[in-house]
């Protein structure tokens, strides 16, 4: 659960609920009875800092059913729901959802979630990971330009990221930009499948970092990505925007871990849109 204070602005982003053992998130299991909530699964026992927003990623449903998800705070057995009945229509391994919820949470908060499935009989699971934003959410005041980094116009893609040959282990950083032209106040991550139209079911945890090669610092850790044999693409295709404060002249890099080590299907494209 890495986190880093940004160089200016004292903003922070960290991800909780990431499951590095299989490159996924915390698994929520619905009650065996349809349309009944399952038990809570802990996302994090104690949030590491005061946060002002939750960026929730839901992925990898195991059933072709509708899901309703509750996100809660509080100790086990006395959870209090803060976001109730988030709807995601599950298609096995195919559907994902990411959403930003502006919500203040003090440091030390226990975060958990639960789900139900329906409307017909059956039960299922779904993964969740949550990125916590520190002191800033998203302010458009004064922002009026975007710069895209990492685009590969020669192949109509972006910067290739190889998680490497060891599954569920972070691979090497790939350079997306050697020196940002402008400061970045909001950062949007784009993800592509490198025109791989026949993919293996897999999950990734993606890090966005700044700093020279060999001394990178992770800005945004463990963004959960999914591909499946059914949709044959990687989702979500866009994540963010994330509130950051990256100075002009910064090197941008990305790395990932993947649940598979297939030499082709583990590859992803990553680009970054910097808003300033």
């Amino acid at each position: 659960m890495p986190d880093v204070a940004m160089q200016q602005g004292s903003n922070r982003i960290t991800t909780v609920g990431e499951a590095t053992g299989d490159s996924s998130g915390v698994t929520l299991t619905a009650n065996a009875t349809q349309n009944v909530k399952g038990s809570y699964a802990e996302i994090v026992a104690s949030t590491p800092f005061d946060s002002c927003a939750l960026y929730v990623i839901l992925a990898r449903p195991s059933a072709n059913l509708d899901y309703l998800i509750d996100i809660a705070i509080g100790a086990g057995g006395s959870e209090k729901i803060i976001v109730e009945n988030l709807l995601i229509s599950g298609k096995i391994d195919d559907t994902t959802m990411d959403l930003l919820i502006p919500f203040n949470l003090p440091a030390g908060t226990r975060l958990s979630a639960r789900c139900q499935c329906g409307p017909s009989a059956g039960s299922g699971t779904i993964d969740i990971a949550v990125s916590l934003f520190g002191r800033a959410i998203l302010q458009s005041h004064g922002l009026s330009c975007c710069t895209t980094y990492g685009a590969a116009t020669g192949s109509s893609g972006a910067t290739g990221i190889d998680p490497g040959g060891t599954a569920n282990t972070k691979g090497s950083y790939a350079e997306i930009e050697d020196a940002t032209a402008k400061p970045i106040r909001q950062l949007i991550v784009q993800v592509g499948d490198r025109a791989n139209n026949i993919m293996t079911t897999a999950t990734w945890l993606l890090d966005i970092a700044i700093g020279a090669a060999g001394s990178e610092v992770v800005l945004i850790p463990d963004l959960l990505l999914v591909a499946s044999t059914g949709n044959d693409t990687i989702l979500p295709g866009v994540l963010g925007p994330f509130p950051v404060w990256v100075p002009a002249g910064s090197r941008l890099a990305a790395r990932a871990q993947c649940s598979i080590n297939d030499a082709t299907d583990r590859l992803i494209d990553v680009g970054i849109i910097g808003v300033y």
Binding site: D162, S172, E175, D178, A179, M199, A213, G214, L267
Partner: protein, 115 residues
């Protein structure tokens, strides 16, 4: 700036690739000069040789072959296939390809059955 690949001296594990490199290099890392950014599609890092090597080509399996050659999936279809002459085999083949559409090809780890 010149591109370099940074790897762990002890293990050969690739740590980072880029044109802006920490100075001095953190302890335990070594740098390999590159002609430019690596071609991710065509090559991949090999920790053993501390070099980029050719990325193996992706192997795809034809579900049509699964259906007409592997009795685990459709013994009846195989019996039908074997009873056909070449002309009718081609007709059936054409129809199955249209039916499978984009799901004709699968990876080795992917089930034969369509979801």
């Amino acid at each position: 700036m010149a591109w370099q690949a940074l790897y762990e001296t002890a293990t050969g594990r690739l740590v980072s690739v880029g044109s802006v490199v920490a100075e001095p290099l953190p302890a335990g890392l070594a740098a390999l000069a590159l002609a430019g950014p690596p071609n991710v599609d065509g090559e991949m890092w090999d920790a053993g040789t501390r070099a980029f090597v050719a990325r193996p080509a992706k192997v795809l399996i034809d579900r049509l072959d699964d259906l007409i050659t592997d009795s685990r999936y459709s013994a009846d279809l195989i019996a039908l296939w074997n009873a056909l002459n070449a002309t009718n085999r081609n007709r059936l083949r054409t129809g199955l390809i249209r039916l499978l559409g984009s799901q004709r090809w699968r990876t080795a780890g992917e089930a034969v059955d369509l979801r």
